[in-house]
Amino acid sequence: MGHTLIEKIIGKKVGHEVKPGDIVTVDVDWCMIDDIMAPFAVQKFHEMGFSKVYNPDKIVLIYDHFLPATQVDDSRHFRVADEFAEKYGIKSVHRTDGICHQLMTEAGYVKPGDIAFGTDSHTVTYGCVGAFSTGIGYTEMAGILGTGQLWIKVPETIKVEIDGTLSGNVTSKDIILRIIGDLTASGATYQAIEFTGSTVDSMSVASRMTMSNMSVEAGAKCGLFAPDEKTCDYCRIPYDDEMKALRGDDNATYSKVLQYRAEDFVPVCACPSLVDNIKPVSELKGTKVNQVFLGSCTNGRLEDLRTAATILKGKHVADYVKLIVTPASRKIYREALADGTLGILSDAGAIITTPGCGLCCGRGGGILSDDEVVVATNNRNFLGRMGTSKVKIYLASPATAAATAIAGEITEA
């Protein structure tokens, strides 16, 4: 009997075969704590009476939601986290480097086959390199900090096969939005998703990251890609036999298999205010927008900024539209600066901000008011996410976002 990718990752970790429904306790390779949840996790850690962390080298603290601080109490979070790091010998603290989910792979922590937990629901992002990672609450995180372990239920797996070649204006964002629409916001709850097929094989790791990132919007516990040579290059490890074995077996048991032809995908938006309310961009044409947001752990990477720059080059955003660009990390910011991408975006009228979560979590610059419309490349369009509960948020790809910024209304690239 074959195994799915998640069964292999967990099985290897616990040292025996596992099947969906098994409850096992795993040793945790990486803990990620963000600035929002750090003080809460620290408080619970102390309430649990621990006197040391299980391994300071496996704990990563990342400040991103509150950066730079916009409210009076924000800096307290940095201070509490700094004190915790100092007291328990935690060296991996990123104070201004970018979004946690970008950094956990970009800065060299999480590798294929690893198990990671984070205090943020988009921790699923590291599935892009074939790691099992998912979000947990701060009490549970405090438990791991002390014990190094967590109990988990081995999930069933939904296999998503995509074959063929995408058209020029379709990106991995359009794919994952369509899949969420098909599965619904709860269609993958408690389950793993495994993405396979020739379309996926030819994608960059950055594009895969977008899909892993949003798998939680269908309720998934993780969204996995088998590691390949591109993955191993990105993670700076050899593509050896161990890596090659990290894939779902042909005879594995899947709870469901979804098959798509790449040629059938079109640019889409998730319309207000549900992630699974998916419509083709062509049907939304004419919808006026006040703002466009290009950034986040979903779509704030170099290829996303370049896609937008290609469309915006020599053009200008519409008069009343604010285009806000927030690179996902300092590394991306520097690369986009060096290759002229940021210059093109700035010439086109973009507001370029420091790396971080920015507008995605509704705290950074760009908060909107009643009845305003924003097209955004991030992952959630929930009520009140980017301002008042009467703001209309459309989620889209970087290409759609750029074309929309120029036209001042929702437009296909």
Binding site: S121, A185, S186
Partner: protein
């Protein structure tokens, strides 16, 4: 007996407690804003022993543990939904708040109905009708019985 507060499907944790309130120093200060965007009277009307009843996928979205925490702080006895998002589900158990799956209840109760829940028996009573609800996996029931993860780890 407790009163039913009924919510639709896909209620995300931003609706349970919006992000601008997450930085309030205590759960007691946050709890006044529970469900603010969906039912601004909720926090003032809910009484200890009342129930939140919902359709599918309750608690989706952000991993914020403050979501089950404010419900518990307001005295909500249990959340009973057709299904739960996984992080909310785990968080609830870890802070010691019962989360119960019932595929029927949402469709048969209205806002303001009186109901009773017998956790041990896995039984919900509304008027003269009774409904079976799913019991928790043993591992989770154990954590819940001990009063949450902190109490459980301290044992």
């Amino acid at each position: 007996m407790g009163k039913v507060f009924r919510f639709n499907k896909d209620v995300d944790t931003d609706q349970i407690i919006a992000s601008q309130y997450l930085l309030f120093p205590t759960i007691d200060e946050m709890k006044e804003h529970t469900f603010e965007s969906l039912n601004s009277d909720f926090a003032s009307q809910v009484k200890p022993g009342d129930f939140v009843v919902a359709d599918e996928n309750f608690g989706c979205g952000s991993s914020r543990e403050q979501a089950p925490s404010v419900l518990k702080a307001l005295g909500v006895k249990a959340v009973i939904a057709k299904s739960f998002a996984r992080i909310f589900y785990r968080n609830s158990i870890n802070i010691g708040m019962p989360v119960i799956v019932s595929k029927e209840l949402y469709d048969v109760v209205s806002d303001g109905d009186e109901m009773e829940l017998d956790l041990q028996a896995g039984l919900i009573t509304v008027g003269d009708k009774q409904y079976a609800c799913t019991k928790l996996p043993e591992k989770m029931q154990q954590i819940l019985d001990q009063g949450g993860l902190i109490a459980s780890l301290n044992q």
